[in-house]
């Protein structure tokens, strides 16, 4: 099995200036129940742990919230040992609903990276954010709204570099329900492309 090298999270997303969080990268995937965010969190963590070979802890908000209200999965990544298993200050927040954006924006560290579904989140509480219409892309480009979660994983990969493309491809193949592999891989590619575009927009 080959190790795919990939860049460290760049300045767009992660500020590694805080001495307490060196080499610790915290991600929250948030939205509504049913958007597949827990599964996305598991896939992200599995790619990091089993393909990229870094340490990784995935936790989730679990309970009444999982039934329709706000839903979230947290992933902490480090090449060193991970002590505290939950996020302390997010490096990256993905918000696929206005409510999730409102609730969790305050957990994002200064200069942290906010990625929102630009169709579903209309009131963004900062000027530093990246908007990609994940749900619209899923419906119109792939033909299935269920894959918005995988598109967002592709975008996170392209923008933050915290997980490898090879890792996500392998895990999407492994985890996608039988018969949906192609759609999910197409969704991942779409996310990667959209993520790269969004990143270029920031650079220019």
């Amino acid at each position: 099995m080959s190790m795919t090298s990939h860049p460290k999270p760049d300045k767009t997303g992660a500020s590694h200036t805080d001495s307490e969080s060196i080499d610790r990268y915290e991600i929250r995937l948030s939205g509504s129940g049913g958007q597949g965010l827990i599964l996305a969190g598991v896939m992200l963590a599995e790619a990091v742990a089993t393909v990229d070979g870094k340490n990784c802890v995935q936790t989730q908000s679990y309970g009444p919230e999982a039934r329709g209200g706000a839903s979230r999965a947290d992933v902490v990544i480090s090449s060193g040992e991970i002590y505290y298993p939950k996020p302390m200050q997010l490096d990256l927040l993905l918000a696929l609903s206005q409510e999730a954006c409102d609730n969790y924006y305050r957990d994002l560290k200064e200069n942290g990276l906010l990625i929102v579904d630009s169709h579903l989140v209309t009131q963004v509480p900062t000027t530093r954010w990246i908007g990609i219409p994940f749900s619209q892309l899923a419906r119109h480009e792939i033909g299935n709204t269920m894959v918005a979660n995988v598109i967002s994983l592709g975008a996170i990969c392209a923008i933050s570099g915290v997980v490898s493309e090879a890792g996500l491809i392998e895990v999407v193949k492994r985890r996608a329900p039988r018969g949906t592999e192609e759609k999910n891989l197409a969704a991942l590619q779409l996310g990667l492309t959209e993520g790269k575009k969004a990143k270029d927009r920031i650079r220019s």
């Binding site: 963590a45 990784c56 936790t59 002590y83 302390m88």
Partner: protein
């Protein structure tokens, strides 16, 4: 990457450890947040010739594992607080009848049915004192997914060696969180099986009082005759009212564990040599403590950490040594309850050492920042 690296949930690690440790019987009743353990073992046990039974409730579950263990099968059940409350009667029976059993309690918020999906450490004292009568409990508390696997195997080993129920105390966060785990290679973890008798059947005493307090254990069906009861009994297992035999039995039950504290009790310490302040935490909270201690050290504060892995029984002598560290002024005891193990610390620290309780019971984890703030207050 090697095949043996997996992203694994804490509850999955219990099941994995159980299979590695040689589990052959699981009797249980599903309850959040422990259910994954039963689900996985229901699939895996039949494949190795083991048995899985979903019982009608937790009282029956603990009874089933006691019965299965008496036939020679390594046996386990898994539950959470409300189920554990029902099991304590059976745990007392297993202790009295000296039956190796493992009970996993994936703690959630209490009291009563409490908070099914939220983390807690509020069964810490129940695990020690839940059953009636004088009783020495063995209770282990892991802090990570891999350690959950290791301590499941260890719980089974201790149950077999000491012929006693052993409780593995985890919690909702640990049970459900996924973490990168290297699955141990075959033979990497020590697996211990109970000692069987090597005497003729007519000489066999199921509860023999031996010089080392360990009695070999025959299984039902092996051809050895013995009687099993929760009543105080003689060496053959028949009820007794003779004070000499009562004293001998109850002393044996105590000594067979308390004489082996060095083997049973695992305590991890870090940075205690020059520590002015120590953070004492077990289970999932030890992870926040570790993070906080790192932060404090980065600020040049002399802070150490104490992590009981075996939370019961208490190795008093070892703790007294640790708490006698020459610069130690205060111990912060962080727990996800209203203060339980803190009393053990208070009992064992030298008079000049202050004990500070840091408690959280709003269903959220104690954060490293909370512990760090407490450390700053002390200094």
């Amino acid at each position: 990457m090697a095949e043996n690296i997996r992203l694994m949930q804490g509850n999955e690690a219990v099941a994995e450890g159980a299979m590695i440790g040689g589990l052959r019987f699981f009797g249980g009743y599903p309850i959040t947040p422990s259910t994954e353990i039963a689900e996985i073992l229901a699939r895996r046990l039949p494949k190795v010739g083991g048995k899985f039974i979903q019982m009608e409730d937790e009282i029956a579950s603990v009874a089933a594992i006691i019965g299965a263990s008496l036939t020679g099968s390594k046996s386990m059940t898994a539950t959470s607080g409300p189920g554990f409350s029902l099991m304590v009667e059976g745990i007392g029976y297993a202790y009295m009848a000296e039956v190796p059993t493992v009970i996993v309690n994936v703690q959630r918020g209490g009291p009563s049915t409490g908070l099914p999906t939220k983390v807690s450490q509020s069964d810490t004292m129940q695990a020690r004192w839940g059953t009636h009568g004088d009783y020495i409990a063995i209770v282990l508390a892991p802090q990570s997914v891999r350690e959950t696997l290791d301590l499941t195997v260890r719980a089974m080993n201790l149950a077999e060696v000491y012929r006693t129920p052993v409780t593995l105390l985890t919690d909702e966060v640990l049970g459900h969180m996924r973490e990168k785990v290297t699955i141990p290679e075959e033979g990497e973890l020590e697996i211990i099986n109970r000692q069987k008798p090597d005497v003729p059947a007519s000489w066999y005493k199921h509860f023999e009082i031996t010089p080392n307090f360990k009695s070999p254990m025959a299984s039902f069906g092996d051809g050895y005759r013995f009687h099993v009861t929760g009543l105080t009994h003689d060496e053959e297992g028949f009820p007794t009212n003779k004070s000499v035999e009562i004293l001998a039995k109850l002393t044996k039950l105590r000594n067979k564990i308390m004489r082996y504290l060095d083997d049973i009790c695992q305590i991890e310490t870090d940075g205690m040599e020059d520590a002015h302040v120590a953070v004492y935490a077990y289970g999932i909270v030890a992870r926040a403590a570790r993070q906080a201690v790192q932060m404090a050290r980065a600020r040049r504060m002399k802070v150490g950490q104490i992590r009981p892995i075996t939370i019961w029984p208490s190795h008093d002598k070892k703790y007294r040594e640790i708490f006698s560290s020459k610069n130690l002024e205060a111990v912060i005891v962080a727990e996800l309850n209203q203060g339980q193990l803190v009393y053990e610390v208070q009992r064992l620290v030298p008079k000049h050492v202050e004990v500070i309780s840091l408690n959280r019971f709003d269903s959220e984890l104690i954060t490293p920042a909370q512990i760090l703030n407490k450390i700053k207050e002390v200094r």
